[in-house]
């Protein structure tokens, strides 16, 4: 046993020494700014995340052609956390400690973000997170370039309520943290708008659920009681196709009971038979179909880079584009890659987005984003039916009693001078982050 331990220690020491030697070697070899790309390239999330890795490589490539930034070239360090949540934390640590990256772009699922958060805070490094999420978080080291619930879910419900005069609501979701939190916020929001308890039906299903018969029959019954009904769907991934198929087979059309989805985008639609989905809705901050010169240029570049004239673009890609351009601007403003100085320079920056508006980084590390509602077309694209002006991302929802008094402000203006991501305006205290 003793021998065994000794052996282990020796091996470990040798390993560390080797790693150190290697990293100092690579530092000496080239003077570049390193950018970490932390997206799963294998496992279940590879379908969505590989696209984002390619987007980052394209953006870095392009920036280098323009001469890099601060007189240095950018260098991408790509790692594969393999859809394995603890591995995300390990790979993040490697990126920061061994590769000495100045910034990391990565993660998709909320659980992977929660897994790497403590690492980025401990090592004081920056993460850009590009996916719409459930909110209830603001970290000093993370910039959330995807939508918070008030930039996707609530405007979508508003659209249904005002434009389609929906009176009854089905909140259907897959059973995990994002749908649960989003539905909690939506339920509180609907009640605050005077919707009766009886007129809200909440339903959760397991991952990859494929037998939707009774749930769709329930929705049909629920919707057949004389009031206009809509389904707000946080159903994730694979389970969507059998759900829409069953809706079609049971005779529910987008005109009788529309479904608005928060997880169905261009990338998801490109692999399926879209016939049963036509006319149903989705809410995002970006659609590939938006007619705008900046968007056209980006699509052309992307299709050229991937050498596939049919390749689609989607919302998280736009988030990475905005995040990356903002980071470049912040570097130029700060004149250094120092984490604290860059983070400070980020706040208040404005960058044109791809839909003809402006994205501004707010003191709570969220962006301003327009909310677009689109109807699914037969070709897998969306026809925009509603567009709001830019909405400021809210880290802590005002519709949950626990998070209502909380605000996040990393400039300290609203939090009595002390920068804080979790400031309670009632008790006047900053309670720090909670990681579950």
């Amino acid at each position: 046993m003793l021998l065994n331990n000794k052996l282990k220690k020796t091996l470990l020491a040798a390993g560390t020494a080797a790693a150190l030697a290697w990293s100092s070697l690579s530092l000496a070899a080239d003077d570049t700014i390193k950018v970490g790309v932390l997206h799963s390239l294998s496992g279940t999330m590879a379908i969505s995340e590989t696209t984002l890795k390619d987007t980052m490589l394209m953006l870095i490539d392009e920036q280098n052609k323009k001469g890099g930034v601060l007189g240095k070239k950018l260098e991408a360090v790509v790692v594969d956390p393999a859809s394995n949540w603890p591995l995300f934390a390990e790979k993040a640590r490697d990126l920061i400690e061994k590769d000495k990256v100045a910034v990391t772009f990565g993660c998709w699922t909320s659980v992977s973000r929660k897994s790497v958060l403590p690492v980025f805070e401990e090592k004081n490094s920056l993460l850009f997170y590009p996916v719409q999420y459930e909110g209830e978080e603001s970290s000093k080291n993370v910039f959330y370039t995807g939508a918070a619930p008030n930039q996707q879910a609530i405007p979508a419900v508003d659209y249904l309520m005002k434009d389609l005069e929906v009176k009854r609501w089905v909140l259907a979701g897959t059973d995990y943290v994002y749908p649960r939190t989003t539905n909690k916020i939506l339920e509180a929001y609907l009640k605050s708008k005077g919707v009766d308890e009886k007129d809200i039906m909440i339903n959760y299903t397991p991952f990859g659920h494929s037998d939707w018969q009774s749930i769709v029959a329930d929705i049909k019954k629920f919707g057949g009681e004389g009031k206009k009904t809509a389904v707000v769907s946080t159903i994730n991934g694979d389970a969507n196709v059998p759900f829409y198929k069953e809706l079609g087979n049971q005779g529910i059309t987008a005109e009788s009971i529309p479904v608005v989805a928060f997880s169905v985008g261009e990338e998801e639609l490109s692999g399926i038979d879209t016939k049963p989905l036509v006319g149903h809705l989705a809410a995002w901050n970006y659609f590939m179909s938006v007619d705008n010169p900046a968007n056209k240029e980006f699509i052309a570049k992307w299709q050229e880079y991937t050498k596939n004239p049919k390749r689609v673009t989607n919302d998280p890609m736009e988030a990475h584009v905005i995040g990356f351009n903002m980071w470049i601007k912040a570097l130029e403003k700060a004149g250094t890659t120092d984490t604290d100085k860059v983070a400070e320079a980020m706040i208040g920056l404005e960058i044109p987005n791809l839909t003809g508006g402006t994205a501004k980084m707010l003191p709570n590390h969220h962006l301003t984003k327009p909310v677009l509602i689109g109807e699914i077309q037969e070709n897998g694209q969306f026809e925009v039916v509603s567009k709001t002006p830019e909405v400021a991302g809210d880290a802590w929802s005002d519709f949950l009693p626990d998070s209502k008094p909380l605000v996040a402000d990393w400039t300290g203006k609203e939090t009595d001078g002390k920068p804080c991501g979790n400031y309670n305006t009632e008790t006047k205290k900053c309670s720090g982050q909670k990681y579950e």
Binding site: N203, G224, G248, K275
Partner: protein, 532 residues
């Protein structure tokens, strides 16, 4: 020379200009009004334009509305003219003339949303209660139910007198009763209530529910009694519907498990790659559909034998190369076949794509069979239920009444004795495993119609399949059938009050408890074959 040709061009241009403005002058002024409304690109203005066109008598107006509904109506970005663009042909709306060689990029598509689509359908439908096509008449009559007013009574009566199609007659009758209920005449209302007894249409039910609190007590009472007569029927239909859902879920379980009932049940091989054999069947369907894109409706008939052959051959390959070396060593078989399942999954990821592939439903499998307005059975489920019973019957026949079946049973009951009687047991093993695998492939064809076809398809069914076979009793085909169907029904009756997640857990707990009590399942094998 140059000046002359320039002059000529000028003349031509002027002539062209005049002819264009002359063409504009001839067309109805509503078109310029409509195009200026469409130009403002707001759904409210589009709605105004739709109303304008619907109320006009211009012969091209219905054409334009129809094109708008189908997303084929475009507006020129500069001169605002409206055109219908289908594929590469462009037709000017106001004149109906085909325009030659236009750049599609200079046109903007006029967007419609669901509210507009509904409006358009009702505007187009309003013109068609007198359509010669009974289907169109039926659709417009049922559409009428939601909006019917007492003023429409005489018009409806007139239409009803002329109507010959029984279904349209029923719908018009309903509209008539509803119009009476919406009116103010008490006697008329009461007769309508009497006539509506036992009617299952949800629109009627909602109307009755609102009438139960009517100021007129007599009407409120009558509405209540009519509603009661409906309520009991509603409950009965609900139970029937749940039973159908249960049977259809059960039939999927039976299909997924029945191949395993042979490889695991009869041969005793724990085949963890069973799910991947199902997946191969589903992918075969996809490739067959890719090969014959114009004959989607018939592709399944070709896919069934193809999937049987593909999965069956793969099964025989697995048996000959791996499993036969491991007979009598269940743990190693389990690990080896698990490895094979991972290999097959990765193979599909690398060769085809890690993403799901689209498999379309043939038209005869979409939609539903309407028994009454509460109970409708979806065709795809109905066919799959029938298909699973058919597969079961064929398999049962093969095992009972063919020489292969006889040999399979002989080998599985007593290998040494069967060999002594001259049965080539190795060949029988390979064929049996191939049969079980082939059936898994056929199940894949059916599943491709219900769920996603992707590398992970098999994984989601492997546990369910083992559950069904163990619950039904290993080595018994009837057991698999009864177990699959009853698990489906139990699951669906639990779901309404327990939710989808909990219902699945409860079923699993139930099976564990059941196996504790009866370790050999529902229909245990008896006698020496039981092997104890």
């Amino acid at each position: 020379m140059l000046a002359k040709s320039l002059n000529r061009i000028g003349v031509v241009l002027i002539l062209l200009f005049f002819s264009i403005s002359a063409a504009w002058a001839e067309t109805n002024p509503i078109w310029s009004q409509a195009s200026s409304l469409f130009k403002q690109a707001s759904f409210d203005k589009t709605r105004e334009a739709v109303d304008l066109l619907a109320n006009s008598s211009d012969p091209q107006a219905p054409v334009a509305l129809k094109a708008l509904l189908e997303g084929q109506l475009y507006q020129h970005k500069q001169n605002d003219s409206l055109a219908i663009i289908v594929d590469s042909t462009t037709v000017d709306v106001s004149t109906g003339q085909t325009l030659s060689t236009v750049n599609k990029d200079s046109y903007r598509k006029i967007p419609v949303n669901n509210t507009l689509r509904k409006l358009l359908r009702s505007k187009i439908g309003g013109l068609s209660l007198s359509s010669p096509d009974p289907k169109v008449r039926l659709a417009s009559a049922t559409g009428l139910l939601e909006t019917v007013t007492p003023e429409q009574l005489p018009q409806l009566q007139e239409l009803l007198g002329k109507e010959t199609d029984p279904q349209v007659k029923d719908a018009l009758n309903l509209a008539l009763q509803l119009a009476a209920l919406n009116g103010s005449d008490q006697a008329e209302k009461l007769t309508a209530l009497k006539a509506l007894e036992g009617n299952l249409n949800p629109i009627i039910r909602n109307k009755l529910a609102s009438l139960t609190s009517d100021a007129d007590t007599e009407i409120a009472k009558a509405a209540q009694s009519t509603l009661r007569s409906i309520e009991s029927k509603v409950i009965l239909n609900g139970q029937l519907e749940t039973l159908f859902f249960g049977l259809s879920l059960g039939s999927v379980l039976v299909l997924a498990a029945i191949g395993l009932a042979i490889t695991f049940g009869v041969m005793g091989v724990i085949n963890m790659a069973h799910g991947e054999l199902i997946m191969l069947g589903a992918y075969t369907t996809y490739f067959i559909q890719r090969l014959m894109p114009n004959y989607l409706d018939y592709s399944l008939f070709l896919a069934i034998p193809a999937a049987f052959i593909v999965s069956g051959l793969m099964g025989i390959l697995i048996e000959r190369t791996v499993i036969r070396h491991l007979y009598g060593r269940p743990l190693e078989t389990l690990l080896a076949t698990f490895g094979i399942s991972l290999i097959l999954q990765q193979l599909v990821r690398t060769v085809v794509s890690p993403q799901n592939v689209p498999v379309s439903n043939p038209s005869w499998m979409s939609g539903s069979l309407e028994i009454n307005s509460l109970l409708s059975l979806t065709y795809n489920r109905l066919y799959i239920l029938a298909f699973s019973l058919l597969v079961f019957a064929i398999l049962y026949f093969v095992l009972r009444n063919t020489s292969l079946g006889l040999q399979v049973r002989a080998v599985s009951q007593n290998r040494a004795m069967a060999r002594a009687m001259g049965v080539r047991s190795a060949r029988v093993d390979a064929l049996t495993f191939g049969l079980g695998s082939g059936i898994a492939g056929v199940a894949g064809v059916a599943l491709s119609q219900l769920t996603n076809v992707g590398p992970n398809l098999g994984q989601s069914y492997i546990i369910d399949s083992f559950m069904v076979v163990v619950f039904g009793g290993v080595g018994n085909l009837w057991g698999t059938l009864v177990a699959g169907l009853s698990l489906g029904v139990i699951n669906k009756f639990l779901e309404p009050w327990a939710g989808a997640v909990l219902a699945k857990i409860l079923v699993l707990v139930f099976i564990i408890l059941f196996i504790q009590k009866r370790p050999r399942g529902l229909f245990p094998q008896k006698g020496r074959a039981a092997g104890d």
